[in-house]
Symmetry: C2
Subunit: 337 residues, 2 copies
């Protein structure tokens, strides 16, 4: 009681809770973070005081003092894209179980955008960072490495991740799709792809493999807007206008594939006899289109939890068996191909 440090402002702090409970601020802190270190009696008094005052912990102050923000920054290309939003949903759930909040931000598909978003996000001092993909600008990598913050890259595969990586090989998925199509007897192909780099890699691998297998040409359509039902329809229409008659259509997403199905039907083309369709993503509508859609499945829930687990291990500095986890994929055969 020597100095008058009585600055009761309106806000409830550990200090004021402690005053009410007749203990010091530190004891309140302990009561919340490690109750076993506080006697039962004072614990109760503190709980009562918290109840009475409606105290809400201040993580901002806590983060500054402890240098742990309990915040994860997650960068994904698009929030509205179901593939990413479903992944992130599971990622968030696991992280929440560990006491972390996830600040999600959209990067579009350009490295510049990603770089500028990351730059402002780093000022939040996240304990971990999730990046989509393995291709980032040099400055981006420098910032990441320089920050010393654990990073997990997802939705792709590399031998040399920034830190850790959980995903699958897009090239391999394109290859396997081509092999599948060839084995099913299709000798003519059309590939419709969104313009993002990973989709293009799948498409290129598909085309190359398909050509090698049958020495047949593959017609390619590359979109410049985000995939949609509309663009699936228009792409098939365009291909047919340009002479595509029959064969298998490889799409970079199920939404496109559904559009192709619809367009084929309006033109009275039989599926899969005239036009066979293969999607990507195996969204939950794929089994219920008519005909049902053959699609490449990636377990996004599993990916989310694996990515979260890997990142948590790095944050807790626990040993990690592998810093690259390939979760693979699987072609789900249905009626469209």
């Amino acid at each position: 009681m020597s100095q008058n440090k009585e600055h009761h402002s309106g806000t409830v702090t550990m200090e004021s809770v402690g005053r009410l409970a007749g203990v010091s601020q530190v004891t309140v802190s302990r009561a919340l973070n490690d109750p076993s270190k506080v006697s039962a009696k004072t614990l109760q008094r503190i709980k009562d005081a918290i109840e009475l005052t409606g105290y809400v912990p201040n993580m901002v102050a806590g983060a500054l003092a402890s240098k742990r923000s309990h915040l994860i920054v997650a960068l994904i290309p698009s929030i509205t894209n179901f593939a990413y939003s479903e992944f992130i949903k599971h990622f968030i759930q696991v992280m929440r179980g560990h006491g972390y909040h996830v600040l999600t931000a959209e990067t579009g598909l350009s490295m510049e955008e990603e770089e500028s978003v990351l730059a402002t996000m780093l000022s939040r001092r996240p304990d971990g960072i999730m990046m989509t993909g393995i291709n980032h600008s040099a400055k981006c990598k420098r910032m990441l490495l320089g920050s010393g913050i654990p990073v997990v890259e997802i939705w792709d595969m590399t031998e040399s991740p920034i830190d850790t990586c959980v995903g699958f090989s897009h090239a391999k998925s394109g290859e396997e799709t081509a092999k599948f199509a060839h084995k099913k007897g299709y000798r003519n192909a059309l590939a419709i792809s969104a313009a993002d780099e990973r989709a293009l890699r799948r498409k290129d691998a598909f085309c190359e493999t398909f050509r090698k297998l049958g020495n047949n040409p593959v017609k390619e359509i590359c979109l410049d807007s985000p995939a949609s039902l509309e663009l699936g329809r228009k792409s098939l229409a365009q291909a047919i206008d340009e002479g595509f008659k029959n064969g298998v259509v490889m799409c970079s997403s199920d939404l496109l594939a559904h559009g192709v199905i619809i367009e084929a039907q309006t033109r009275n083309l039989r599926i899969p006899e005239d036009i066979a369709v293969i999607g990507f993503g195996n969204q939950n509508f794929a089994a219920f289109t008519v005909p049902s859609l053959t699609s490449l499945h990636v377990d996004r829930a599993y990916l989310g939890s694996q990515a979260a687990t890997a990142l948590m291990a790095r944050i807790d500095k626990k040993p990690l068996q592998k810093n690259c986890i390939d979760i693979g994929f699987e072609i789900v055969e249905r009626d469209s191909a």
Copy 2:
């Protein structure tokens, strides 16, 4: 230089940047927050020092000192639901333009979940909060009011918001849908609705209005899982099994409506002659189904920016003309009804 407070740890701070530039820490702070108050020369030296050191501002410390976190907490029922994710995308974009980050969290559809999520989020000391809907637990409202943080409730309408509200009337939208259906000559109806409270309110208003208008019965199906193409199909199948022969089908989402269309087609029912379909949400695929889907449109991009603008006004304590903004809706007539 009296006391040796030389504790250069590894981290770059305003202190170390200042030391390099030959100025005090405060000057660095000013250079970043209000450059006009710093001379051109020192500004350049500071910029150079920042470049050299790779300094990244620490918003955690800034937030603690200024009591402004530049963080918004946004609570939505589901991240993967396109209606919410598209809204939040625009909300985030506008907020980002104002220098704010948006921490998005999922609440499911229960008030308890929302309450517990909100409780932990409040410890981040957000400058503003976005809540979905107008129904919250008493404790939730108490926490919100007690925090003194500006709140915007979206996607619904009320005369007595917690703070501000931007949305539309679900009851009215159900009414209008019924009037539309009746005017189009449909005298028999089926309503398929997800179980969330707002969808149910739309459905109830639809049923009540439709009955009043024609004195005809409305068959109702209420789902217990999130809406999907599959459930749209199954619901129509179930209704037909139970005797529903023809009429208009009001769906609580476009996804359900699309499922209804597909199921009707597999049964060789004509649309809209045998079965007419009205969706909700006017997702961008609605114009490209076959037949194209009549749907109730809500401008989610506009909603996002209006909500952000309203919240910003409250944060900046600028006057707000109205604390309730009804953005309305519109029935987009296409071929399915």
